[in-house]
Amino acid sequence: MTDVLDVALRLLVVLAVFLVLPLVVGQTEHKVMAHMQGRLGPMYAGGFHGWAQLVADGVKFAQKEDVVPKDADRRVFQLAPAVALLPYLIVLVAIPIGPGEGAVGQVVDAGIFFVLAVMGIGVLGSLMAGWASANKFSLLGALRTAAQLLAYELPMLLAAASVAMAAGTVSLPGILNAFEWWWLPWQIVGAIVFFVAGLAELQRPPFDMPVADSEIIFGAYTEYTGLRFALFLLAEYAGIVVLCGLTTVLFLGGWHGPLGADGLGWVWTLLKTAVLAFVVIWLRVTYPRLREDQLQKLAWTTLVPLALAQIALTGIVKVAIQ
């Protein structure tokens, strides 16, 4: 009985984290972007520096009419937001934030494998949305999404494999247990490749060509309104949380920190994740959008060779120190 209660509690905590952290990232993005561009950002909702802006947005979304275009493939159109959103919830359960069994939703043996496989499903949501909308711009957006997945899944996979080689295990807590500080410089190339590829998979700027509003309106999401549109947005920000959390766990040592190893490990994980989320926002404000051919070129002629080089380096060092 206590076992069942324990699992239920953990899953509810995962759900709570899944619903709260993306909003925190979203609000941070509002404010950070605004200040980087010399504006104030939201200031009214909730009183103190517009902290409740996203709550207000949520209320607005919930009471908006839900329009499904007459020509659209109705069922697929309506299901797409759920398909885009839920993989990130499921990935979150496997990410450890502290040492020990108590600080992870559920220890999954095949950690990296599971996480990468489930994250890949999210893209299906965009494809479904783009196809079902019966809208030329949405279709183009969906095809661009597919192109991006094709190009960036591979370097991401290779970079993650490099960490699995270093640790000799694919379990996420196992990797962190094996972590040493000098992995940081050792795996730095892999870390950058993983993070950049992840950004591309989330369609975050500068890789936001699939939703480029000035070219193809809003890509696959053009026809969506209200709650379903809100779920797509939530998926994007949940994706940021998951990507930053995974980069932290795989490459930045997760709960390891210069001090407070016992008990305060989760603070380090959250801190590193937050810094990475800030970088994601920073990149959005800094870089212009990449063109389709530039996207493919970056992936195939830069990231893939870099990831292969990282694997070679990891292999040599690992065998040398054995």
Binding site: Q63, D109, S133, L157, A161, G168, I217
Partner: protein
């Protein structure tokens, strides 16, 4: 590396892990269902023919939405399938390659593997596949 336990205990463990994951998936589906259900109760429904027209870019749509388009990256798609299937095999290999008794042999194997990938990529590059046409 965690020592693999054998037999029934491992199978039971496995089952427990993924049943928790499955339960989370159920919770997720319930969350979405409740959100959609609540949304249905909260929002107005006033459809008009104009509203149900495909929006596209704001101008009335011309022709049908499932338009023909040339997918110019299909060669990349082939490359991706080849490479990704190869790379999957890296993971089981990664967990054992430095185990006692392997070492240098597996390292050489790794370079053979990387060599194949690199030559493939180089060939694609030489053929001009990686350049936009």
């Amino acid at each position: 590396m965690p020592e693999p336990t054998v037999g029934a205990a491992q199978a039971a463990d496995h089952f427990e892990t993924y049943s928790a994951v499955g339960l989370l998936a159920v919770i997720g589906v319930m969350f979405v269902a409740v959100a959609f259900g609540a949304g249905r109760l909260l929002r107005p429904v006033v459809p008009t023919p104009e509203k149900l027209l495909t929006y596209e870019c704001g101008v009335d749509p011309v022709g049908e939405g499932w338009a023909h388009t040339q997918v110019r990256y299909y060669v990349y798609a082939f490359l991706y399938v080849i490479f990704a299937v190869d790379s999957i095999f890296l993971f089981p290999w990664a967990t054992v390659f430095a185990a006692p008794g392997y070492g240098a042999t597996t390292l050489v194997e790794m370079f053979v593997f990387l060599g194949f990938l690199a030559v493939g990529l180089l060939y694609a590059y030489k053929k001009g596949v990686l350049a936009w046409t």
